[in-house]
């Protein structure tokens, strides 16, 4: 049996006396669309930060394509093939939308510093390829018309889309989306849902997403797991999660 794309093995992280994530084991297969839900403060973003190397787990291991990435730096993990977006948007605000996407191509550049300084022919050719690919990606997200706008000046929904394009431009095998639909109106949410599905099918990548909008999560995820106080309390198909008594209790409190 081949190993899963991503595997968390007994990951625990403590900040002083607080155990933010406790003994979490979870795997994600190639091509899967998985949702992670849970009440506020359940440790969802912390899980993302463990996967992407922002935090080192106190205990446990993170494996990506069968290899441990637990002790890698965030940029090395991105290079290995995991990209993410942020809950509070982190665009390169002063740069144009197009340049935001171009930054993501850095990790795969063949021509390096000196050819960039001297503007060698090989580098000029690569620049054109990067430009072309960036434009293709922007087109997929309907952002070509704003490519020269300062990314910080875009409306909120468009900024979220730029963040996703930028993450995809690093050519990941696994994409982590932290509340991609936050702050969007219902029509934008429906569009985004279809878009996420389309990306997954077109690029054949796995997606793990955090989202509070239940209609959204239930609508697109094939599998969902639920965190509460840093512990996994349930896992399964959307239907099973909806009827799971522990999940209902975590969200709505005890029935008494």
């Amino acid at each position: 049996m081949s190993s899963p794309l991503l595997e968390l093995r007994g990951c625990t992280i403590r900040f002083g006396g607080l155990t933010a994530v406790s003994n979490l084991s979870q795997s994600i297969e190639s091509g899967e669309l998985v949702g992670m839900i849970g009440p506020n403060g359940a440790g969802k973003t912390t899980v993302f930060n463990i996967i992407t190397g922002v935090y080192k787990p106190t205990d446990g291991n993170v494996l990506f394509q069968g290899k441990s990435i637990t002790n890698l730096q965030p940029y090395q993990i991105t290079k290995a093939g995991i990209a993410r977006t942020f809950q509070n948007i982190r665009l390169f605000q002063s740069m144009s939308v197009l340049d935001n996407v171009r930054v993501a191509f850095n990790k795969n550049l063949r021509t390096k510093l000196f050819s960039a300084i001297a503007h060698m022919p090989a580098q000029a050719q690569e620049e054109e390829d990067v430009l072309e690919e960036s434009m293709k990606m922007l087109q997929m997200f309907d952002l070509t018309s704003v490519k020269d706008e300062r990314s910080g000046s875009l409306p909120y929904g468009a900024q979220r889309r730029v963040e996703i394009v930028r993450a995809l431009a690093t050519k990941p095998r696994l994409l982590l989306l932290d509340e991609p639909a936050a702050g969007m109106n219902p029509t934008e949410k429906v569009d985004l849902m279809q878009l996420i599905k389309r990306i997954r099918d077109a690029l054949n990548i796995s997606i793990l997403l955090i989202e509070h909008d239940m209609k959204f999560v239930m609508g697109i995820c094939e599998r969902i797991f639920v965190l509460d106080y840093g512990e996994k309390i349930a896992e399964g198909s959307p239907e099973r999660i909806q009827s799971d008594p522990r999940v209902i209790e975590a969200y709505l409190g005890d029935q008494e």
Partner: protein, 325 residues
């Protein structure tokens, strides 16, 4: 493709223009000539510091240190090795030798930039500024205690090599290379580090490496500027490279607008000429200079050319305002 050729043509035209202009510099009054050379050196310094402070968003106060390393290294080479190498009169050989000495000064400065960069670039903001400030002072104190380069008495007898042509060829080369870098996809990485370090890491950018690279390139250019400075004055002393010099360069970058090449060039020109113009008011000179800086920063904190200026939009906006009024 057309665009890349356009840049090269502009570059070659610039070099040609410098070479043509250099034919006429003999007739210029020595005082004006000196100002012209200082402007060139300051442009190189400002544009190189722009790489660190403007494009990469780090705050360095040690630029005079890199300049000093370049100045002393190249001067020591031309002073000590020059007489042994240059026999008879071979002007071409002499110029080539000067060029090599300048590059050597730049390389040593770059190496020092690497030494400073690797441990200190884990620091951010104010902390980094203080470390680089300390570094600049260390360089100055070392020079003060090295007797073979004159120690506190200064280093005199450096051959006079810096001409108009040398200075401005380097100005054009530095601007051209920096612009190339900043327009490239690789160069966008520096801007990404400035805008949001966490996101840059998430894009697969090794932020520490990019910061060190910015320091090294910047130090290299500063070292060259130092070499030009030494071979123009023919006499340098550690006091030329106090942290006041560093601050002067930082002011140029901020005044011109962080991360703007046009701004750095413009500010270097203005801030070199301004103190000279103000000589007429004698003792009030520095007061007025400081006041002008304060007024400018209050009215345009992003610097003269800072932020993105979109001329077409500005034009539209002005027209709209006219209509509505």
């Amino acid at each position: 493709m057309l665009k890349t050729h356009r840049d090269k043509i502009i570059f070659l035209c610039g070099i040609a223009l410098v070479l043509i202009l250099s034919r006429f510099t003999d007739s210029i009054n020595a005082y004006y000539f000196q100002i012209i050379i200082y402007i060139g050196i300051n442009i190189i310094l400002a544009e190189s510091l722009n790489l660190i402070n403007g494009f990469t968003g780090q705050f360095s106060l040690g630029h005079a240190g890199f300049m000093a390393v370049g100045a002393y290294t190249s001067a020591a080479i031309t002073y000590y090795i020059g007489p042994h190498l240059i026999h008879g009169h071979s002007p071409v050989g002499e110029q080539l030798f000067f060029f090599t000495a300048l590059l050597a000064g730049g390389c040593l400065a770059a190496f020092v930039g690497l030494l400073v960069g690797v441990p200190s670039l884990r620091l951010k903001g104010d902390y980094l500024a203080i470390v680089t400030l300390g570094f600049g002072e260390i360089i100055r104190v070392i020079m003060q205690n090295l007797n073979f380069v004159g120690g506190p008495r200064g280093f005199s007898g450096i051959p006079f090599y810096t001409t108009f042509a040398w200075t401005y060829v380097f100005v054009i080369v530095v601007i051209f290379l920096t612009e190339n870098l900043m327009r490239s996809t690789y160069g966008k990485g520096f801007l990404a580090v400035r805008d949001n370090e966490i996101a840059a890491e998430a894009m697969g950018i090794n932020t520490t490496k990019y910061k060190v690279v910015a320091f090294v390139i910047s130090a290299f250019f500063a070292g060259i500027a130092g070499g030009l400075f030494a071979h123009y004055l023919t006499y340098i002393k550690p006091d030329n490279f106090t942290f006041l010099k560093s601050i002067e360069i930082v002011v140029m970058v901020i005044l011109g607008g962080m991360g703007s090449t046009v701004g750095a060039v413009f500010a270097a020109i203005v801030l070199t000429i301004l103190p000279e113009l103000l000589r007429t008011v004698a003792e009030y000179r520095m007061v007025i200079y400081a006041l002008l800086l304060i007024i400018l920063m209050l009215t345009r904190p992003q610097g003269i050319f800072g932020g993105r200026i979109d001329w077409t939009k500005l034009g539209k906006k002005l027209r709209r305002e006219k209509k509505s009024s």
